[in-house]
Amino acid sequence: MTEPAIQIRDLRVTFGGVVRAVDGVDLTLHQGEVVALIGESGSGKSVTLRSLMRLHPPRRSRVEGSITVAGRDVLAMSERQLADYRGATVSMIFQEPLLALDPVYTVGEQIAEVIRRHEKASRAEARARALELFQKVRIPSPERRLDAYPHEMSGGMRQRAMIALALACRPKVLLADEPTTALDATVQIQILLLLRELQREFGLSIVFVTHDLGAAVEVADRIAVMYAGRIVEEGSARDLIRDPRHPYTIGLLKSRAEGALAKGSRLDAIPGSPPDLAHLPPGCPFAPRCPLAIEPCRADRPPPIPIGPGHAARCIRTDVSPGLLARHPEPAPA
């Protein structure tokens, strides 16, 4: 097999010296693979994603561990190398393109800008490329839309424009931070289908952050479940739906027992709340909310326990956890 597109080893991200937003994440992504990161709000999904481009404020954050993308050590890059790498090798689409695009430039100008930043191209060439991209992401009357400002477009069109911008320099890796959360259900599906189609066409590797288990199953080859800054379970989409082993994953699945694959609905809350990232407990961070917690859980951080090929869970009781699934499901919230 060729070298992985992304290799993250023991990633730790700390803000202000105390908030451990990411606390030892390992993740490998092969070329052309799509991985979904799911988990509750604040579990460190966006922070993990932004670390791949080193987008955290340098003065207030510390990033440790190792990140290799397309064979290059991201944490060792100089500012200049980093700028050349961002947008060309890796690019990002954001949750709310209205906020992520500059309001006083037209979308066409913003796409031409990234092309001219990374490649030798005249204004006219860059604009022609932008037009092609708009056709590729199927924006109607693309010529006219190039001259629109972000606020003049609908949410779905904006997200398409954002995707066009992200793909402008043919990156190897695409990072998508909840690209459909801000959209209507029907538009969400269109955007997901478009992403999957473009992923196949360009052979993209995608890390896809979402709250939506249905969307994750729809587009991802593998799913990684995050809790309190760690990946607590990882496996193929199929494994995770059929044979979840971490009590947190099981909780997520059960809380949406009513139509687990229905798209558009968010992960529903599991009783209790996530731990304070500034004061993480010594043992398993899920212990306070875990129905299977026993004394040894609180002593040490559980290591990843292999379940099957490419499937592992950070839980010392994976032998008994499937029993949770069999239990009478809690009444689904209205």
Partner: protein
């Protein structure tokens, strides 16, 4: 855009009318008979009545206002009591001087204010930020006549580099007359400088905190590339603030123009008030108010043209 322009211009008509009304009323609101300052103390009743007819004070107020407005619209603001020259000439000469000085002061203030504000906003809460903020507070709070006198003492009296006062004879050529403007303009510029610096600092800090800046970095833009975007985002508001500052300075700083004997509108107003030269006072205020209204209109139009987020409908 054209329809917007037409509507915006139409809005100023009632404002202009109101301004004219206030200027007209000034003469009648001012305590005492408006004729008192014109009449010799021992004027006979006949002379009084004659002058009253001559100035039109015997007619009704609306009629007087109509006649005054009609003449003003044709560029006739009456005659100065003190000098006997047409008010229009006096005012426009003074406005020319003040305009020159205010524009130079605004440019100086805008340049340094933007510079300090940008650096302060970019490196917020750093030492540079604190130094720049302290400087801008100083700019707003230092007494200008005092600063003016200090500058005159240092650069004119001690070093002898620049003329201390006046506007020159008018025969010095461009650079020669510029020398006369430097000290008063620098003194005057500390006001817009402080305000522009504070505005730009807040703008830049606000823009840098927005998510699209992360989007720009994610595209691979360097600091310079991000800087261009920040400038374009900040420009409409910063320029609007600059325009309004120019408007305030156009009123002419009585203190600064007095310190430097600069023959501008501040100087003229000062003279008109102390000599109770009502036509001159009336005319000066009217012209200044017109400038202010037009400037506001310009600022609005420029801001709308520059900022695509403002709805033009």
């Amino acid at each position: 855009m054209l329809a917007y322009l037409a509507r915006r211009v139409a809005y100023t008509v009632p404002i202009l009318f109101g301004v004219a009304l206030v200027c007209f009323a000034l003469v009648h609101i001012a305590p005492g008979d408006p004729l008192v300052s014109v009449l010799p103390p021992d004027a006979s009743a006949d002379l009084q009545a004659m002058l009253r007819t001559l100035y039109g004070f015997d007619r009704s107020y609306p009629e007087q206002f109509g006649r005054w407005l009609w003449r003003a619209a044709h560029g006739d603001l009456g005659t100065s009591i003190a000098t006997g020259r047409p008010v229009t000439d006096e005012v426009f000469k003074a406005v020319g001087y003040t305009l020159r000085l205010s524009i130079l002061a605004t440019l100086i203030g805008f340049f340094f204010g933007s510079l300090f504000g940008f650096v302060a906003g970019y490196y917020r809460d750093s030492l540079v930020d604190k130094a720049a903020s302290a400087l801008s507070v100083l700019g707003v709070s230092v007494p200008h006549y005092w600063l003016g006198m200090v500058l005159v003492i240092v650069f004119a009296a001690i070093l002898g580099w620049l003329p201390p006062t006046g506007a020159g004879s008018g025969n010095e050529g461009f650079f020669g007359s510029l020398r006369f403007m430097i000290l008063p303009a620098v003194t005057m510029s500390v006001i817009p400088m402080g305000i522009v610096a504070r505005t730009v600092r807040a703008l830049v800090a606000d823009i840098l905190a927005q998510e699209f800046v992360i989007g720009l970095r994610a595209k691979g833009l360097t600091d310079w590339g991000v800087f261009r975007h920040v400038v374009k985002n900040a420009a409409p508001t910063a320029l609007a603030v600059m325009g309004l500052q120019l408007g305030y300075l156009l009123g002419g700083s009585i203190l600064i123009e007095t310190v430097f004997s600069w023959p501008g509108t501040g100087f003229l107003l000062n003279a008109a008030i102390f000599q109770r030269d009502l036509p001159l006072l009336q005319g000066t205020i009217l012209v200044l108010a017109l400038f202010f209204v037009i400037l506001n209109l310009l600022v609005d139009v420029v801001q709308t043209a520059l900022d695509p987020r403002i709805q033009r409908s």
